[in-house]
Amino acid sequence: MTSPTSTTTLPRIGILGAGHVGPAIGRVAIEAGYPVSIAGSGDPAKIALITQILVPGAKADWPAQVAAEADIVILAIPLHKFRTFDPSLVAGKVVVDLMNYWAPIDGTQQLFEDPRYGSSEIIQQHLSGARVVKSFNHAGYHELEADRRPAGSPDRLALGVAGDDREAVELVAALVENIGYDAVLLDSLREGRILEPGGPVFGASLNKEQFAQVLTAKAAA
């Protein structure tokens, strides 16, 4: 929604996953001026049509290629496939985890059943070489496009951006802002648990002030 800056100055977004969520993120990232690559589970020919119609302007490629070329990797694979995801693909990368663990919907997955950690913390543990940032997970991908607003709009919504690596968090926060949302920064993946399903932010469509109130209430509780 902000006027696109020259594409050469913005980081390349590499989306792993061409299901419900990947193309939705890709489309708004392109409209915000970011160069975007996208991969499905393998051969890019299989997602050529999806890319052409749903993410026009994006480059469909093999997963390894998309990850290697990306400055920000968006991990948008079905969570149950994460077990078999190769961490070396994203070593050293900023990785946005927008996945959610909902046992009643996705079935129980032992990997994410550890009550000590949020799902993004578990993702970070498995992608130890990557800098994981939790964001976009609490907004419906359905509404991602329609809910965008220019900076300063009274009805602009806020998205949480949580991570342990400040530089990575700021990179993703800029993406959030450029797409058309206010970024609310959270200082660790641990704090990002507040964005999870069942929490006060999930699916709630909050603006920046409302989001801040939730955080204050949480801190006071």
Binding site: A18, G19, H20, P23, L49, I50, Q52, I53, L54, P78, H80, K81, N100, W102, P104, I105, D106, G107, Q109, G140, Y141, H142, E143, E145, A146, E196, P197, G198, F202, G203, A204, S205
Partner: protein, 355 residues
């Protein structure tokens, strides 16, 4: 409206009602038993036929709130008492069923109803059938891909030869009862997976867009993807449908008053297991407005919204998921009557005057 936005799909407009077998209440507000719920659905289907509705669909569910696990049996009871209405699943959770059995049941329904059966295949947004029948949810993609492929073979007619990993192979197998004429219309219901859209086109299935929240227009790229994919696979044009929930009463106010408390109750219940946000009066007003996915109001309000969204989505079929859980049976019957006698003619009028 300019020319490019008028409805020219090449297919006749058809209108359906879908139920998930929601448990309703009687005049005293007491929830009906499962058995009474099943019997009431037959009455609803019979009424739908008598007021000129084109399609009546039952969505497979296996829960206390939605006790319609064997919808095809209920459809055959409706078939025996009706003449014109098409009857089908909405949806059949094919991933956890056997395509051969699904074909046998609906081919039987097609025979009983003299060619009025339809099937909507789904991958399984409602997942209660997976553990019930011993399937692993993480296999849903391969299950649906293989089974939708086999079902497409079955529709071509016997003998069937097929090999896969999710059921026993078939070699020159005769599967009965044979179809009398054309295969019954078969659709794939899609909630948001582009792969499912492409799959529908690849196997030559019609497409139903299940739009349960948010702006219906955001599904327009899916319609475009489907139409492009049909061309890509050198398939003939096929119809697109829309499935969304709603409720019709005499006035907007009455429809909202009847629908809102039950909707709130249902979503509250679902939010516990699915993590959905609880709707607010404000979010509800948005959903029933022009940019939302729920069709609640007077016949005029609902008809205008259906017409607008059919146009945006290049769709020729609309299926209203009616009868939110907990509504009184009388309000549900009134909804059916108004949908058939008022809403459908109004939509036809709005769209007919444009093309």
């Amino acid at each position: 409206m300019n020319d490019s936005s008028s409805l020219r799909t090449g297919f006749p407009l058809t209108f359906g009602l879908d139920t998930f077998g929601d448990v309703h209440s009687d005049e005293t507000g007491t929830l009906n038993s499962h058995a009474q719920t099943v019997r009431n659905i037959v009455e609803q289907g019979v009424l739908a036929d008598s007021v000129g509705i084109d399609f009546f669909g039952i969505g497979e569910h296996h829960t206390y709130d939605y006790p319609l696990s064997a919808g095809d049996l209920v459809l055959s009871a409706i078939a025996a008492r009706t003449r014109n209405i098409h009857l089908g699943s909405a949806v059949t959770v094919l991933s956890s069923d056997d395509p051969v059995r699904v074909f046998q049941r609906y081919s039987t329904l097609n025979a009983l109803s003299s060619g009025r059966a339809e099937v909507i295949l789904g991958r399984g947004s409602s997942i209660d059938s997976f553990p019930l029948f011993g399937y692993d949810l993480s296999d849903y993609e391969v299950l649906f891909e293989e089974k939708s492929e086999l079902f497409a073979e079955l529709l071509k007619g016997s003998p069937i030869t097929w090999t896969g990993t999710t059921r026993a192979a078939l070699k020159d197998q005769d599967v009965v009862p044979h179809l009398e004429a054309e295969p019954f219309p078969t659709w794939i219901g899609v909630g948001g997976s582009p792969q499912s859209v492409v799959r529908a086109a690849r196997h030559g299935y019609n497409l139903i867009l299940a739009i349960i929240g948010g702006s219906p227009s955001r599904f327009q790229p899916f319609s475009n993807l489907y139409l492009e994919a049909l061309e890509h696979f050198e398939r003939p044009a096929q119809p697109i449908g829309v499935h969304s929930m709603g409720h019709v009463a005499e006035t907007d106010e009455q429809a909202q008053e009847e629908f809102w408390p039950r909707y709130l109750e249902v979503i509250k219940h679902v939010s516990k297991t699915r993590g959905f946000a609880i709707p607010t009066p404000e979010s509800f007003r948005h959903e029933i407005g022009p940019h939302g996915a729920i069709y609640v109001g007077s016949p005029e309000t609902v008809a205008r919204k259906i017409a607008a969204n059919l146009r945006v989505l290049h769709a020729s079929r609309f299926q209203l998921k009616f009868g939110m859980t907990g509504l009184p049976h009388t309000a549900v019957m009134k909804n059916i009557e108004l949908y058939g006698t008022k809403v459908i003619p109004l939509v036809r009028e709005i769209l007919g005057s444009e093309s």
